[in-house]
């Protein structure tokens, strides 16, 4: 049909292009927004500059004030400060977030003379004379840019200084935004990149009639860079990528409908965006990881999460320039690592499976950390005594018995359901001093090997087939409940398909009777490391399940400012900082969301066409940064709402401005002007006054708690759930 279409096209194209062109013209006019016509662009230039300076001044002063207070570790500083130190010490660690944020913190610490020696053990530890202000200052400076960006974004979207100043004021005087910017956290860095990406996207949208000019390219590339930055700090950055992606798709759709552009032009537009918004961020993102791996070259606390090959890169790891017997032999003591990424070591311990979970025998699990309980001894079917002379090598197809070194129980399986994966069989530790039964026998197979092939340490992929039932030793990747110490389930799978979950490798190998040979383990290439670290990160992220006794914050709590987070201090005598939004600001935001919906609904039903108030983009941003949390199973905290709160505040600026200005629909000119001014002043006053009331939340408070008389915060505990 395609080839045939060509005969039709000249006719149809001619006829349709006119109407379509008209349609496109209509589109662009309406999408310019109604507010665009009210204010001439030129006239707002000078006051906006002055206001911008004002916003910047206020923003920096509120965030840098009392920056070094309290002089001890607050809340998550214990993680991110520690990780910053790791970069300075070049120690490898594992974290669920991508590295950029922590790298920047480390860099800021390094530049400000912090030497990376502070241990950051727990919140409340005194910094003494460590240079911690550099890291805090860096975060605070990035946090100070948020109101400035908000000002510029709203100005760009609405062309109204009033709207922009409202948005900026909301953010400047929000205690929550101040608190979250003042400490060594990833959030200010993340939000900086998110806002910068949105700002450059909005600027880029304004360049639409100057395609391919220098400024067009500048904002496009800048958007891409900021996207990479946002994703490089936390995976929440994905949401802003989706926002920019949707905006770009809309943009391309508009261009596609523009009949004055040839297909070649459209292809150019498409390729330019694909380069700047997909390829460039991807390259930058990968570069960040490359730097991460180059900088962190010493063994550290995160090793066990990664495969044997990965570990061999790290100086100080026992696999770095490893030296051990090359071929597995009977009588050797080994650790056995699952080949699934972040699969863990085959592990057992004295604890039994609880009643009701299969047979009440000793647990066998997979464990991610290095531990003496990961050691197993390889035995022949029968003999337990050590032979004299050179031990026999284990070969493909040999029957082995794996004895747990610490508990002398044998790896065992039988026809009971596994604890979590009900389709599989349970694996236990059974027998005493190596004496068990026929269910302790496993046939060892080298993947892709033939009968008689020896088993190479580290390099061979092996499978353990259970003799009696014919199933294969398998790590399901599911986390056992409390009784299993939240380690990973190990089962025996009757499905014999070769997957990494059923393949293992021998990692440590100790046999004094065999000569040690220096092994140059196959060094993994960069892409393999990248993929592996991502899978480990995602596993870690989804593994952050709320614990039983822990308070889990619910997403619906957040917009109503239901409950905050204690950053520092609990009791009356301590210096307390409490992360809680300025309730006036937050509740204005909440009301404006509703107001915006109503305005859109009324306006669009009245006109029944895609009438836009210009805030659609911000609304979308808010939704994208908020709604996904409802589907997340991991543990959530109040501070996850802050990116969404930025969008909400900008939307408020826009909505309230339109609301004030629509007063002239109801009132006559002088009154409407007064109404407008009164409304603005009232708003400003209430924000300032509430900031005055609540500022101790951010800048710290001591003395009695709020529910007791004589407290600085007396009478301000408006909701029972606030904990200050």
């Amino acid at each position: 049909p395609n080839s045939f279409q060509t005969t039709f096209t000249p006719v149809s194209k001619d006829k349709n292009s006119q109407t379509a062109g008209l349609l496109a013209g209509g589109d662009t006019q309406s999408s310019n927004g109604p507010s665009g016509q009210f204010v001439a662009r030129g006239s707002i230039e000078s006051p906006s500059k002055v206001l911008l300076m004002l916003v910047a001044g206020l923003s920096f002063s509120t965030r840098l004030y009392k920056l070094t207070e309290p002089p001890h570790v607050c809340w998550d500083e214990t993680h991110f400060g520690k990780m910053g130190s790791y970069y300075i010490n070049r120690t490898f660690f594992f974290d669920v977030h991508p590295p950029l944020g922590k790298m920047l913190i480390g860099l800021a610490g390094y530049m400000s003379g912090y030497n990376g020696t502070f241990p950051f053990i727990k919140p409340g530890d005194k910094y003494e004379n460590q240079n911690y202000w550099g890291m805090r200052g860096f975060c605070a400076v990035l946090g100070s840019f948020l109101p400035i960006f908000a000002y510029l974004i709203v100005l760009e979207l609405s062309n109204s200084c009033t709207a922009a100043i409202i948005a900026a004021t909301l953010l400047i005087f929000d205690t929550g935004c101040i608190t979250i910017s003042q400490y060594i956290l990833l959030d200010p860095i993340l939000m900086f990149f998110i806002m910068a990406a949105v700002l450059s996207m909005v600027k880029f949208n304004q360049q639409r009639y100057r395609s391919f000019t220098a400024s067009w390219w500048f904002w496009l590339v800048l958007t891409g860079i900021n996207l990479a930055g946002a994703l490089g700090v936390k995976f929440v950055g994905l949401f802003v990528i989706v926002l920019v992606g949707l905006n770009t798709i809309g943009d391309l759709w508009r261009l596609l409908g523009d009949m004055s552009l040839s297909l070649v032009d459209i292809a150019k537009h498409f390729l330019a965006r694909a380069f700047a918004l997909i390829l460039l961020p991807l390259i930058l993102y990968v570069t960040i990881f490359a730097v991460h791996f180059v900088v962190l070259n010493k063994s550290g606390p995160g090793d066990g999460f990664f495969s044997s090959a990965f570990q061999s890169r790290l100086i100080g790891n026992n696999l770095h320039n490893a030296s051990m017997p090359e071929y597995l032999a009977f009588g050797s003591t080994v650790t056995i690592k699952n080949l699934r990424i972040a699969g863990g070591y085959l592990h057992s311990h004295w604890h039994l499976y609880p009643e009701g979970v299969g047979a009440r025998q000793q647990q066998v699990t997979a464990y991610l950390h290095k531990d003496y309980n990961n050691l197993w001894v390889v035995h022949r079917q029968q003999d337990n005594n050590s032979q004299s002379g050179n031990p026999d090598l284990v070969r493909h197809g040999d029957i082995v018995r794996l004895e747990h070194k610490e508990t002398t129980r044998n790896l065992h399986s039988h026809l009971h359901e596994a604890p979590l994966t009900k389709k599989h069989f349970q694996v236990t530790g059974y027998g005493i001093n190596g004496t068990g039964d026929a269910n302790d026998l496993w046939q060892m197979e080298v993947c892709g090997g033939r009968k008689g092939d020896p088993v190479k340490v580290l390099r061979s992929k092996v499978r353990f087939l259970h003799r009696a039932t014919g199933c294969v030793l398998y790590s399901s990747g599911k986390t056992l409940p409390k009784w299993g110490w939240e380690q990973i389930e190990v089962t025996c799978s009757p499905y014999l398909k070769e997957t990494p979950s059923s393949q293992w490798n021998i990692e440590d190998h100790i046999n004094p009777k065999l000569p040690n040979i220096s092994l140059s383990v196959l060094k993994p290439n960069f892409l393999e490391i990248l993929l592996e670290s991502h899978i480990v990160m995602f596993r870690g992220n989804s593994g952050l399940k709320p614990k039983d006794n822990e308070m889990n914050s619910k997403p619906w709590h957040w917009p109503i400012n239901y409950q905050g987070l204690r950053f520092s201090g609990v009791n009356a005598t301590e210096y307390r900082v409490y992360l809680l939004g300025n309730p006036v600001v937050w509740w204005i935001n909440l009301a404006s969301l509703g107001l915006y919906f109503t305005m859109v609904a009324v306006a669009s039903i009245a006109t029944q066409r895609g009438f836009s108030l210009g805030g659609g983009l911000l609304m979308l941003g808010w939704l994208l940064h908020y709604a996904p949390f409802f589907t997340m199973g991991r543990i959530l905290y109040f501070h996850h709402y802050f990116p969404a709160m930025l969008f909400s505040s900008m939307l408020t600026g826009l909505t309230l401005d339109i609301l004030f200005r629509s007063a002239d629909l109801l009132l006559h000119p002088p009154y409407s002007y007064w109404f407008q001014r009164t409304g603005q002043l009232l708003l400003l006053f209430s924000i300032l006054y509430s900031f005055y009331l609540f500022h101790p939340l951010s800048y710290g408070m001591t003395g009695p708690l709020a529910h007791e008389p004589g407290s600085a915060m007396a009478g301000l505990k408006w909701m029972d759930s606030w904990e200050f």
């Binding site: 049909p1 045939f4 279409q5 039709f8 096209t9 149809s12 194209k13 349709n16 292009s17 109407t19 379509a20 759709w253 596609l256 409908g257 009949m259 297909l263 359901e417 979590l420 994966t421 009900k422 389709k423 499905y495 398909k497 039983d548 006794n549 308070m551 239901y562 409950q563 039903i605 029944q608 589907t631 199973g633 029972d720 759930s721 904990e723």
Partner: protein, 752 residues
């Protein structure tokens, strides 16, 4: 009369048009779904689950099932009722033989009927989507020969009922939409659609997504209607001018407001009312206490016959000083329990070396026990009996609680609790003379005093006990104590920093006015049952809200099932479910779909999306490949079918519960609806250009031949899998091996 005479002059004519194809597929559908329905005469798969509820219906015993709203269960119970089932059958294992007293046929009849009716419905629905009878026949055949749908219809399960109502809702809505706007009868279809929506949501919560999709489609149509300038808003003048033959009918039907209101009434208000109505029937039907009473509040339990109401009937309503009470925790997680104490002290040191007060243990105990009794004492007076007249306890009063059997005072102090060290220990106070004074004053804080009253009432009031010295609140932490605490649940006092939660609240369940001052007499009194007359009722709305809330929040321990699967496995049918295995032979029933139809469905889903993208891009460039009418039809097809597939599939990806292959069946039906329609579209519009080319008709013919070949192979695969669908004839192990088309399927072989 003349009217009668005139009648006789007219010929008496009945004109009937019968769509023979429709009749034929319907008959086949009935034959495939209903034949040998009572075979196997044994409990098959989830019948064991639904059966217990059917039995409870027959006995009118109250239960909670969090798997779905009550309509589905009621339909199954109705079938059982028709067959005279008396509820006396123990549903304990799959494969158990039904006794002759159970009419298996009637148990399975209604789901099977619904399953059979799906086939003609799909036929009609395709017609309403404005595709030809041939397409309609294709869709019907796909559904007819789908083994998994047949299996799912033939047993006492709910999927076929759900699918039936979903299809009915869409069919009747489209019927309404397509009917000429002047006819009154079309509103019957709209109402029918609303009723079906109510039923869809009433059968399973998953139906909610289909309902929302229908609402989206309907609001899109309404949106168009609002934009249609030829229809007036409400103005009469305009109507009279433009329609010379003005009538009320045109007024009511033609103006936009009225049209919108009609739709909202039928598609929103009716389903919501019906949904509540199912619960009304459910609650008014099940009026006896039963196994799930414990999950409900005391007030709810007291409204059921037997159970708590038998105990609490005749109790005094107002709690007074001197009252003897049992205090039940308002939270039913992990298990409902009562405040309890016994003559054993906390160990001096816990396992982890932390110390305790070594005073008497206070716990929460999940069984009725004489040690659950507490006496409410006025701190200012010594006596433990009720005055005449009784002095009721009010919100804000300070009381002491005395344990009935041991006479220890309920006490708390700044000692860490055994299992939750961040909270305070609660104990029965013993004075060891170690400068640890008694702190046994508690303030009564009635949290629902707005709804009830300032006076503490039995069962109705939810009370927090606030420790006066430390302002901590008595709380059930829910952590089981180790052996020294007899595995009872820990009770602590927690500072009211944390969120409001019902674990802080307690209700008085059993209650009597104490009359004996002497300890020995009092112990005897505590052992005796309570009785004085007071009657109390709870409104339907309160019951409805509580039941609905409990259904949505009760979480049963979800563990993996042997046949559970993940949603992504459904698309390629990597998994199956063994429903039944004969007790001695290899005859067995499996939920396995027809692999060929499954593939056809997936292909058409892909093809539609591809085609839609190409169309959209080309239209945006002004190239209209198909006329506007056809485009609308194409879009409508996508909205219903692809949309239906999405809303019935994507939510499962986000769900955290045990899922089975049968959850995919509703989504699958949408694909079967899509396939023939898409084929017809391709045939008439994509190959339209072919007539100008040399191989004009060959393409179309090839398509027809291809379609026939696919249909034939669908029929053959259906035949092949029939033994696993109907459970007969028995196959040999070798033949079964041959049916294992995928390695991941579990087919059972009996070892002989």
């Amino acid at each position: 009369s003349w009217w009668f005479q005139k009648m006789l002059q007219l010929p008496l004519v009945v004109t009937a048009q019968v769509d023979l194809l429709l009749v034929l597929v319907s008959l086949l559908a009935f034959w495939t779904r209903l034949s040998h329905l009572s075979y196997p005469n044994a409990v098959v798969f989830d019948e064991v689950y639904y059966g217990q509820f059917v039995s409870l219906y027959m006995k009118r015993v109250f239960f909670i099932d969090d798997s779905g709203p009550p309509l589905g269960h009621m339909i199954l119970a109705f079938g059982a009722y028709l067959g005279g089932f008396d509820g006396n059958f123990v549903w304990n294992r799959i494969g158990a033989e039904y006794p002759t007293t159970v009419n298996v046929w009637s148990l399975r009849l209604l789901p099977a009927l619904c399953g059979a009716l799906c086939v003609p419905l799909v036929y009609l629905l395709t017609l309403e989507l404005k595709f030809s009878h041939l397409s309609a026949l294709g869709a019907a055949v796909l559904l007819l020969l789908e083994n998994s749908l047949i299996v799912q219809s033939r047993f006492m399960l709910l999927e076929s009922v759900l699918i039936f109502f979903v299809l009915l809702a869409f069919f009747s809505y489209l019927r309404f939409h397509n009917a000429p706007s002047s006819s009154w009868s079309r509103y019957i279809w709209l109402i029918l659609s609303g009723v079906s929506c109510g039923a869809v949501v009433g059968v399973k919560y998953m139906g909610l997504f289909s309902y929302l999709l229908l609402l989206v489609v309907a609001s899109l149509h309404t949106w168009k209607l609002i934009g249609d300038k030829t229809i007036s808003h409400v103005s009469l003048d305009f109507l009279i001018v433009s329609y010379p033959a003005f009538s009320w009918q045109t007024l009511l039907l033609q103006n936009v407001c009225v049209q919108c209101v009609h739709r909202v009434l039928c598609l929103v208000v009716v389903p919501v009312l019906l949904y509540v109505f199912w619960f009304y029937v459910h609650l008014s039907f099940l009026n006896r206490s039963g196994p799930h009473d414990q999950l409900m509040s005391s007030a709810f339990q007291a409204s059921l016959q037997g159970g708590l109401s038998r105990i609490t009937r005749g109790q005094p309503l107002e709690v007074a000083y001197g009252s003897q009470v049992t205090l039940r925790s308002s939270v039913s997680q992990p298990i409902p329990c009562w405040l309890h104490s016994h003559k054993v002290n906390y160990p001096i040191r816990y396992d982890n070396g932390r110390g305790s007060s070594h005073q008497q243990q206070v716990t929460c105990y999940p069984f009725k026990d004489v040690n659950n009794w507490w006496i409410i004492k006025d701190p200012g007076r010594q006596q433990l009996v009720v005055d005449t007249p009784p002095r009721p306890v009010r919100h804000g009063d300070v009381i002491q609680l005395v344990h009935g059997m041991t006479s220890r005072f309920l006490n708390s102090h700044d000692v860490a609790a055994p299992m939750s060290p961040h909270t305070q220990e609660v104990s029965g106070y013993i004075d060891f003379n170690v400068s640890m004074p008694a702190q046994n004053l508690w303030r009564v804080d009635i949290s629902n005093r707005e709804a009830e009253s300032e006076v503490w009432k039995t069962i109705l009031s939810e009370v927090r006990l606030v420790h006066v010295n430390t302002s901590a609140v008595l709380k059930l932490s829910g952590v089981p104590l180790p052996d020294w605490g007899f595995r009872q649940l820990e009770v602590v006092a927690d500072k009211l920093f944390k969120a409001h939660s019902s674990s802080l609240e307690w209700t008085v369940e059993e209650h009597r006015y104490g009359t004996s001052q002497e300890q020995k007499e009092r112990e005897a009194e505590l052992h005796s049952p309570t009785h004085i007359d007071v009657d109390r009722k709870i409104s339907f709305w309160a019951k409805f809200v509580e039941l609905q809330w409990k259904m949505l929040t009760v979480k049963q321990e979800e563990s993996e099932h042997k046949y559970s699967s993940s949603p992504l496995e459904w698309i390629t049918m990597e998994t199956n479910i063994a429903y039944w295995l004969h007790s001695s032979t290899n005859a067995q029933i499996h939920l396995i779909g027809n692999p060929v139809s499954w593939g056809v469905g997936n292909l058409s889903l892909l093809a539609y999306q591809l085609l839609a993208v190409v169309y959209l891009l080309r239209r945006r460039r002004g190239l209209k490949d198909v006329p506007d009418g056809v485009w609308d039809q194409f879009v409508c097809l996508g909205c219903v079918c692809v949309g239906g597939w999405l809303v019935n599939f994507v939510p499962f990806l986000l769900m955290d519960k045990t899922l089975f292959l049968y959850h995919y069946l509703p989504a699958l039906c949408y694909l079967y609806l899509l396939s023939p329609a898409l084929l017809e579209h391709a045939h008439t519009h994509l190959l339209r250009y072919a007539h100008q080319l040399q191989h004009s008709l060959t393409h179309q013919r090839a398509l027809c031949v291809g379609a026939l070949a696919v249909l034939l192979s669908i029929f053959l695969t259906y035949r092949t899998f029939c033994p696993l669908t109907y459970g007969s004839p028995e196959l040999s192990a070798h033949q079964l091996q041959g049916l294992k088309w995928r390695d991941t399927w579990d087919i059972l072989y009996r070892r002989r």
